[in-house]
Symmetry: C2
Subunit: 386 residues, 2 copies
């Protein structure tokens, strides 16, 4: 496979975008990425989205978005892997360019959640779980994660307060991100008094719904030679793995095996270890998911990620900064778009354009997007070209 570079990025603010249609939202991010890339052509468009068919009554998002941004006649495809749909679009675009088949690919993640009643969206989100054995038994997606969190607390002896550091860090970072859904810092007291959603998950453990879109352009790295471009950013690793769709089918529900598989493959592809990663943009849909990702990806021993968080290692000044622009918790989590926000933020960090969220000297960023309750996990490592 040939090396692939990321050359253009775009994103919308995550918000309740009642004034923008689904395609206008995606188009805003896509056209910003196109302008940023300096390229006016696309050979293939990959759209990551989870629920447009039901929430927005529009399927066929590939042709729909390609047409809207003026790229009709290009190849275009909608890919879906629940909350990891964004990273799935990026990986599809990566493979199309790496294979030699496509010269200019765009990946765009988009989700418009706030047009529908919250109860409907809650039902839609549960379609990421096993419809027969989880959803139809009355388990919402938050409830599923609450069971995992409770089990984790039981196994490793942590209290609810021990997870506060994840939320406090995410909200502190979100303050400086103009595209974040929430830009207000929170305190331990805020965390403690937050309303419960499904015990032990409170609103301060859970990421919010929102509308948003993020996009990136990918081209063969060799095409950038001698173009004088600054910031040649390469995809050093791209890898995906699945686990059982139903959590109760796992021998160890507190171990994200798909994250371990996907991370270790990514490290091997890039020739790197966790020590080499400067930033880890992980999938903090819930504080328990941030916890489990850090462990499965090799940043903390099993059962010890809350210690990492409480020691300050996950803050911008720490050993392994996470959620540097607010993460899913504060930047927001428009499900099918989230994976692309992670990519866009990784590129910003590598370019040195992350404003007050900039991590000095960031050269290697890992992103990890999770679909379902750990059932589809996609990892990318991006780095500045030597």
């Amino acid at each position: 496979m040939r090396p692939v570079a990321v050359i253009g990025i775009g994103q919308t603010k995550i918000d309740e975008h009642w004034g923008l249609s689904l395609r206008e939202l995606a188009g805003e991010a896509a056209l910003e990425a196109m302008n940023d890339s300096g390229i006016s052509r696309v050979d293939a468009v990959y759209v990551g989205n989870m629920m447009s068919g039901s929430a927005n009554h529009q399927q066929h998002m590939g042709a729909y978005i390609a047409d809207w941004i003026g790229m009709r006649f290009s190849e275009a495809l909608h890919v879906e892997a629940a909350c990891s749909s964004g990273a799935a679009a990026f990986r599809s675009a990566f493979l199309s360019v790496a294979s030699g088949e496509i010269d200019i690919a765009m990946a765009v993640g988009v989700e418009k959640m706030t047009d529908s009643p919250t109860a409907e969206i809650t039902t839609e989100l549960a379609t990421a779980a096993d419809s027969d054995w989880e959803k139809d038994q009355g388990l919402s997606f938050v409830a599923l994660n609450a069971l995992v969190m409770r089990r984790y607390m039981h196994e490793f002896g942590w209290q609810h307060d021990d997870f506060a550091a994840f939320s406090i860090n995410a909200h502190a970072n979100g303050v400086h991100n103009p595209n974040a859904r929430f830009r207000k810092p929170i305190t331990l007291k805020d965390y403690q008094k937050a309303a419960m959603v499904a015990e032990p998950i409170s609103v301060m453990d859970a990421s919010p719904m929102g509308d948003g879109a993020a996009a990136a352009f990918l081209v063969p790295a060799e095409h950038l030679r001698n173009t004088g471009r600054n910031h040649q950013i390469h995809v050093l690793a791209s890898s995906a793995a699945t686990d059982t769709i139903a959590v109760d089918n796992r021998l160890e529900p507190t171990w994200l095996k798909a994250a371990a598989l996907s991370s270790s493959t990514a490290y091997r592809q890039a020739g790197l270890t966790p020590e080499d990663i400067d930033i880890f943009e992980l999938h903090d849909a819930f504080t328990i998911m941030a916890t489990l990702s850090l462990e499965a990806a090799g940043f903390a021993p099993r059962g010890q990620a809350p210690r990492l968080a409480n020691d300050g290692a996950i803050t911008p000044q720490g050993k392994i900064p996470i959620a540097t622009r607010g993460g899913l918790k504060a930047r927001g989590h428009p499900v099918g778009a989230t994976g692309m926000y992670q990519i866009v933020e990784a590129v910003q960090q590598l370019r040195g354009t992350a404003e007050q969220n900039q991590i000095d000297g960031a050269k290697i960023v890992m992103t990890q997007n999770i679909g379902g309750s750990g059932s589809n996990i996609i990892t990318h490592i991006l780095g500045q070209a030597e």
Copy 2:
């Protein structure tokens, strides 16, 4: 890119499968393909499906199906391009193997339509069209195609009877396919007295709903060297193109530009011309779509495909046999699965296992799967290795 071979195929009968769940349906085709391939491992699973999120309340079909067939931990992804979702899954699998990233890929198309009321499915199908400017204006998918058919009849002077040959050929072929939805031949009289759905499209111009799944395994062609396998079947071309999502945005609504683009790219990739194609498994969702595909793919001059049909050129004994196992009209059209049925049938023809539908001496088969009203068109050419 490295050459890719198809080594295993599987399919279910297309029917009202009320006794099988969504995953059981897909699993049946997938496991049959696995047995047929002689391989018990999959590195990546690509699932083509259009409407499971709304019709079956299950998204995340990649992990869902991989888990069900015992391939948890593999990479898995759901791809959607409306009625061309099946071919999109096959193309994704093809690219993953051709790139060198994946060694054993499976593509499976599945759709379970008959659990929902017909009116709901009609609404779901319309999400393949433009939600703002077509669907929400009251246009069903059949109505859209009826407008195109009427325009075609007006432009080129054909009568409704002139399209009968497409339906008669499809039903005649379906008689011999044990997996076909309909296995009864029809006469010109049957065609003439059929009930109208949206004039001029009658039930004999339109493909039926149904539940079904079809699957294939893909591996690097080089892996088959010296294995003594008969029937080494290679993917000679794989290509996709889009057009506007809304039909009224096209300068020429009776010309499938995406089919012309996708076909000409496929011919170039394979180093072939329409004269070299022994069988064309086209997307006869409506007789007008069969007509337009034949023209755009270079088998008939513009406006003249009905003549080809009436001259008998599309029958098994004709110059360019189509719908050899019944096509979408008689074999059936479980939308996200159809593209994979086309691939499975192409492989059967190349292996010489198409039973009484066998086209003698078939060496090159082209398949073409259409999403939306011509807005996403994916073409493959399969051939026996020299």
